[in-house]
C-alpha cells in the first residue's frame, strides 16, 4: 500500500474507521489491530470498488465486515480458554475519548449485538436508512424499526435501567 493511497483514500475516512473499530474492541491494542486490518483490507479490495456507491460507503462496509470477522475469530479463539474475559494485564479501554458522555455512549453501544452496533453506528453517522439497508443487506423499513428499538435500548442502558 503506497502512502499516496493511504493519504488519499484512507486517511480522509479514518474517522469512520476509528468510530467503527472502537465499537468492536475493548483495548487500545485490539483497536489498533482492527484499524490496521481495515486499512489493509480497504487497500486490498480497492479493485473491487464499484463506482455505483460512494467511496465512504465502501469504506464503511469493509470496516464493518472486517470488524465482524475479527470479532468472530476472537470469540472462536476465546472458546479454547475457560474464561472469555480480557486477559490479565490488559486494561479495558473505557476512556478512549476525552468526552465522558461519549465514552458512556460507547460502553452502551458495546453492550448491543454486533449487528445492532453496526446499524446504530451508521445511523449516528447520519446515513440515510436506504444506505444503511444497502450496507446491511436489509430494507429501509426494517432498518427504521430496528433503529427505533436500538435507541430505546441505548437510552435504557445509559439511564442505568438495562445492563
Amino acid at each position: 500500500m503506497s502512502y499516496d493511497f493511504y493519504k488519499t483514500f484512507i486517511l480522509p475516512y479514518s474517522a469512520i474507521i476509528i468510530k467503527i473499530c472502537r465499537a468492536y474492541t475493548n483495548t487500545q491494542e485490539d483497536f489498533e489491530d482492527y484499524y490496521q486490518e481495515v486499512c489493509l483490507q480497504v487497500w486490498k479490495s480497492k479493485d473491487n470498488f464499484r463506482k455505483d456507491s460512494k467511496w465512504s460507503t465502501w469504506v464503511y462496509q469493509i470496516s464493518l465486515n472486517v470488524c465482524l470477522i475479527l470479532l468472530k475469530k476472537k470469540k472462536n479463539n476465546q472458546k479454547h480458554f475457560a474464561s472469555d474475559t480480557i486477559p490479565d494485564g490488559v486494561l479495558e479501554d473505557t476512556d478512549a475519548f476525552s468526552d465522558e458522555d461519549l465514552n458512556h455512549l460507547y460502553s452502551a453501544i458495546k453492550k448491543l449485538s454486533e449487528v445492532d452496533r453496526a446499524v446504530i453506528l451508521l445511523y449516528l453517522e447520519e446515513k440515510p436508512y436506504q444506505e444503511i439497508a444497502d450496507i446491511m443487506g436489509s430494507n429501509s423499513n426494517n432498518i427504521g424499526v430496528r433503529i427505533k428499538r436500538i435507541k430505546e435500548r441505548l437510552k435504557k442502558i445509559l439511564d442505568g435501567q438495562d445492563y
Partner: protein, 213 residues
C-alpha cells in the same frame, strides 16, 4: 439523561477531537508471529513424530522378523532428525527484535535453506528407505524360505554368489529412479503437508513488500 444519543455522538467527537488515526507501522506483527509459530509448531510435530515413529517401527519390525528394515530405517530417520534438529537451532538465531518484515524475511531465508537441505537429503533417503525395505524383506525368514524353495527347483535364475541377478536389476533401477526423483517427491510431500501455510507466508511477504513501496 438530558442529551440525545445523536447529540452525545456529535458533540463528543467535536469536543474530544481525538480521532487521530493510529500509525500503520506494526501492521503485520501479529500475522508474522502467528504464521511463524504455526510453521515452527508443524516442524516440531514432524520431528516428534519421527522421534517416536523410528524406535516404534524398529520394535514392530523386530517382532515381524525383518529387523534389518527396522534398523536401517531407524538409522535413516535418526539422521533426518539430527540434521533437522540442528537446522531448528538456526531458527533461534533469527533476531526477534527485527521489524516484522525483516523477521519474516529472515525466517523465509532460513526456511528455504531448511527445505533445500532436506530436498538434497531426500535424494539419498528415499532410495535408502526403499533398499531398507527390500533388504529387510530379503533376509527375513519367510522370504528366505520362499527363495530356498524356488532355488531348489530346476529354474533359469542367473545367480551371482547366492543373488539372483535378474531380480536385483529392478531393485537397482527403482533405487536410481528414487534417487533422481527424491527431490521432487520431497517437494510433493511438503506441498501436501505445508503447502497452504507456506503460501500464506509468501502472501504476507508479498503484501509487506507492496506495503514498503
Amino acid at each position: 439523561m438530558d442529551k440525545t444519543i445523536e447529540n452525545i455522538w456529535k458533540e463528543g467527537f467535536i469536543k474530544s477531537g481525538d480521532l487521530t488515526a493510529p500509525k500503520i507501522n506494526d501492521l503485520y506483527n501479529q500475522k508474522s508471529i502467528h504464521i511463524i509459530d504455526k510453521i515452527k509448531r508443524m516442524n516440531k510435530i514432524n520431528l516428534i513424530a519421527i522421534a517416536i515413529g523410528a524406535p516404534l517401527f524398529l520394535v514392530i519390525t523386530c517382532f515381524m522378523h525383518f529387523p534389518i528394515t527396522g534398523m536401517a530405517t531407524f538409522v535413516i530417520l535418526a539422521v533426518i532428525l539430527y540434521v533437522n534438529r540442528n537446522l531448528m537451532k538456526g531458527f533461534d538465531t533469527i533476531d526477534k527484535g527485527n521489524n516484522s518484515y525483516e523477521y519474516l524475511n529472515s525466517f523465509n531465508t532460513w526456511l528455504k535453506l531448511q527445505l533445500s537441505i532436506n530436498r538434497k537429503m531426500a535424494g539419498f533417503y528415499y532410495p535408502a528407505l526403499f533398499l531398507a525395505v527390500v533388504i529387510g524383506l530379503w533376509f527375513s525368514p519367510g522370504v528366505q524360505q520362499i527363495f530356498q524353495e524356488i532355488l531348489a527347483k530346476p529354474n533359469e535364475i542367473y545367480l551371482l554368489g547366492n543373488f539372483p541377478i535378474l531380480w536385483t536389476i529392478p531393485v537397482i533401477i527403482i533405487s536410481i529412479v528414487l534417487a533422481f526423483l527424491g527431490g521432487r517427491l520431497y517437494d510433493f510431500d511438503v506441498r501436501i503437508v505445508y503447502g497452504p501455510v507456506y503460501k500464506k507466508l509468501e502472501d504476507i511477504l508479498s503484501d509487506m513488500e507492496d506495503l514498503r513501496k
